[in-house]
């Protein structure tokens, strides 16, 4: 500082003296001019950095050492953050269709009598949740408890059964040697199916088809049951038998149809996972067991079962998760009103029902309850799998 002062104070030609006030503005002007000049130079250098000469310069500079101009520094800093440009499309789409809906759902579920399309609501509170759980929405829509019971019942019956059957089939498949490939292909074939379309096929198995010459004609299942002397049951139609438990309806015949369909549609994926897991078990274990004189059941119970335990728990968890969100299978089987006035409704079906009715508040509340249930399952799953995989 002192040196600078000395330099300034001893020029060859002393500058013109102004009074303090004027000098201040002159200095200010010079400073502003300098600031703009600096920016202008920086911008100039920045664009200059793209030109051909600049590249040559840069190479020379790089050879000399890391002395970067301001523009070059800025350009490099900009470049370092250019990853944001790459993620921008995804980020914008997610902001609109993922992040915003999450916030909107949490806020909207506390708005009483909220109608999403107009944005009108009466006040804040837990009323949506209470009414959803009570089934007191006053709109003639689906009943939440009914939907919850349907979803839980269908999921917790069909997923274990289908996993068990898949396990049996894959054990059998694993134990044969001839035509294994052919069986494999047949079992994997329904792997890619359209849940709705195949649901319609299953419905034709079970339904009362129509009348010919004033006699009812029925689907295959009723015909087979007829061989055992059973009267035809309307499995999927409007006269399907229902038990009543208070307000709750238990359409048992429809449950059976839905469970059979879900077992069938869940099998290929489960067989695929279990079978490939069994195939990848090291053959040495089996050889060792055989040397020790273990029976087939011992081998199955003490070698195969523990080795595929992670896959089984994975299948149970993904099955339950998927079951909680089931919708299109039920629509395929029982039509778009999900049985008689949503007596086969699922939780997702409930949401869509209320979206369709325009009752956004109830739809939000229902979706948040579904979210909480799925989070609870995920939580227990994490606890369980951590324990199980350390055998």
């Amino acid at each position: 500082m002192m040196e600078e002062k000395d330099n300034v104070s001893t020029p060859a030609q002393p500058p013109k003296k102004h009074n303090k006030f004027v000098q201040y503005f002159i200095d200010l002007g010079a400073r502003i001019k300098g600031w703009f000049a600096g920016k202008f130079n920086a911008v100039k250098e920045f664009f200059h950095g793209f030109s051909k000469e600049a590249r040559a310069e840069k190479k020379a500079l790089a050879a000399e050492g890391p002395q970067l101009s301001r523009g070059e520094k800025f350009r490099r800093g900009f470049r370092a953050q250019s990853g944001w440009l790459f993620v921008a499309p995804a980020l914008i789409l997610m902001a609109v269709f993922t992040f915003y809906p999450i916030i909107a759902a949490f806020i909207g579920s506390f708005k009483q009598e909220y109608l999403g399309m107009t944005g009108k609501f009466k006040g804040w509170g837990f009323e949506n949740f209470i009414r959803v759980l009570k089934g007191d929405t006053g709109t003639g829509g689906a009943n939440f408890v009914q939907c919850l019971v349907n979803t839980l019942l269908l999921t917790f019956v069909s997923v274990p059964l289908s996993t068990l059957l898949a396990l049996l089939i894959s054990v059998a498949l694993n134990s044969i040697k001839r035509v294994q490939k052919a069986y494999q292909t047949i079992f994997f074939l329904p792997y890619l199916t359209n849940a709705l379309a195949m649901g319609a096929v299953f419905a034709t198995f079970f339904k009362i088809i129509g009348t010919v010459n004033n006699t009812e004609t029925v689907g295959i299942v009723n015909i087979v049951l007829g061989w055992f002397g059973m009267k035809p049951v309307d499995w999927v139609g409007i006269n399907s038998p229902v038990w009543y438990l208070g307000d709750l309806r238990i359409p048992w015949a429809k449950y059976i149809v839905a469970i059979i369909y879900e077992i069938w549609s869940g099998l290929p994926f489960k067989i695929l996972i279990l079978f490939s897991a069994m195939q990848s078990i090291n053959k040495q274990y089996y050889d060792a067991a055989k040397v020790d004189g273990a029976s087939r059941w011992t081998i199955l119970w003490h070698i195969t079962a523990p080795m595929i335990m992670p896959q089984i728990s994975y299948l149970l968890v993904t099955g339950i998760m998927g079951g909680m969100k089931q919708y299109s299978a039920i629509v395929g089987l029982f039509g778009e009103t999900m049985g008689m006035n949503y007596d086969m409704g699922t939780m997702v079906g409930y949401l869509y029902n209320y979206i369709g009715l325009g009752q956004t508040g109830y739809a939000y509340a229902g979706s948040l309850i579904l979210f909480v249930i799925i989070m609870v399952i995920t939580f227990f799953n994490n606890k369980l799998t951590k324990k199980r995989t350390t055998y």
């Binding site: 953050q81 990853g83 944001w84 790459f86 993620v87 499309p89 997610m94 269709f97 993922t98 809906p101 999403g116 759980l133 408890v145 839980l152 019942l153 274990p160 089939i169 059998a172 047949i186 994997f188 074939l189 359209n194 849940a195 709705l196 195949m198 319609a200 096929v201 299953f202 034709t204 088809i209 129509g210 009348t211 010919v212 010459n213 004609t217 029925v218 689907g219 015909i223 208070g246 069938w264 290929p268 994926f269 695929l272 029976s295 059941w297 994975y314 993904t318 909680m324 969100k325 919708y327 299109s328 869509y352 979206i355 956004t360 739809a363 979706s367 948040l368 579904l370 799925i374 989070m375």
Partner: protein
Amino acid sequence: MFGLLLITSTGVGWLTALCVLLIIAEIGGIAFLGYKIAHFGKEVSAAVIGKWDLSAGDEGFDAEKAKKIERTKRIVKDVFVYLFLTVCAVLAFLPFYWMLMSSVKTEMEFRESVPTFFPHTFQWKNYWMIFHQVTGTRGGASFGQILINTLVVGFLSTFLGLVVIVVTAYALARMDFKGKNLLFAVMLATMMIPGELFTVTNYITVAKAGMTNSYAVLILPFLVSVYYIYLLRNNFMQIPNSLYQAAKVDGLSDMGYLIKVMIPLTAPTLISITLLKFIGTWNSYIWPRLVNAQSWQLITNWVTGGFVDRLQPTSPWGENWTIYGGNYGNSETLDTLKMAAVCMVSLPLLILFIFCRKYIMRGVSKSGTKG
């Protein structure tokens, strides 16, 4: 808490408890049965073998006879295993067979009180009927229109989705920028949330934006799928860094490296993603139904519409409808037509699966979800 109280008060609690008990009993019972059978088998075989061992001392043990017994046991076991597998395979395949056969039956034959397992007469006209859909119950959406919708939406959403996914995954895997890890963590966290939660708001968003009844509304909300970004990012990360440096030395830009090196190397994953995205469009049902009118909907929506026809004396089937006891002019659902439509939706999937099994299974077995 009040929810729990409510649930118990309506008797659902009992039902749930009953179900849980049932399931436990079911699994326990099967396991116990299996255990018993195993033990029984063991005891029997021990007894048999023991007898043979005993008799060996007395009469001279016949090794060949023991072998024979072993072989018979194996054959019996094989018979049971093959029988079980065959029954299961037949049951697994039956819906497909029934779908195919029903789709070419005449409506009269389909409604017979004793169903035929092989059609007497093949009526290919059913397919002609669903393509031309004379009855007009479908709100003016012909099969051709629906197919064009599905293909356009399928290709566009697959292609654009792939671009977004690849670019994002590349940035997350290879580029350094502030907040990258936070961004990735947030993206992954959204995977935990069921997609149905978004649908409610998205519906309002697109409806307010006036986007309903367009292709864009079917494409935009599903372009980004975090799971595929995650999958591809992991694939990109596996490519060694030395390759990147080598490419730089050779004068490739970042974009050039992405296109010329990374995409070819991760082609299998990209093919899986492409197929699954397209299948996702093919199978999507709820969203198109919610936001679009029938003429803008996709192929799965087309299947669910009842294939209802007004029975006419001059029906295109040329059948005698009076046999059904119904009056002319009544609307009836024609299951054969519905089965033909189901075939049109299911068969492409089956064929795709047969030819691209490897790629589809790779994608699905990793994610546990289809489409």
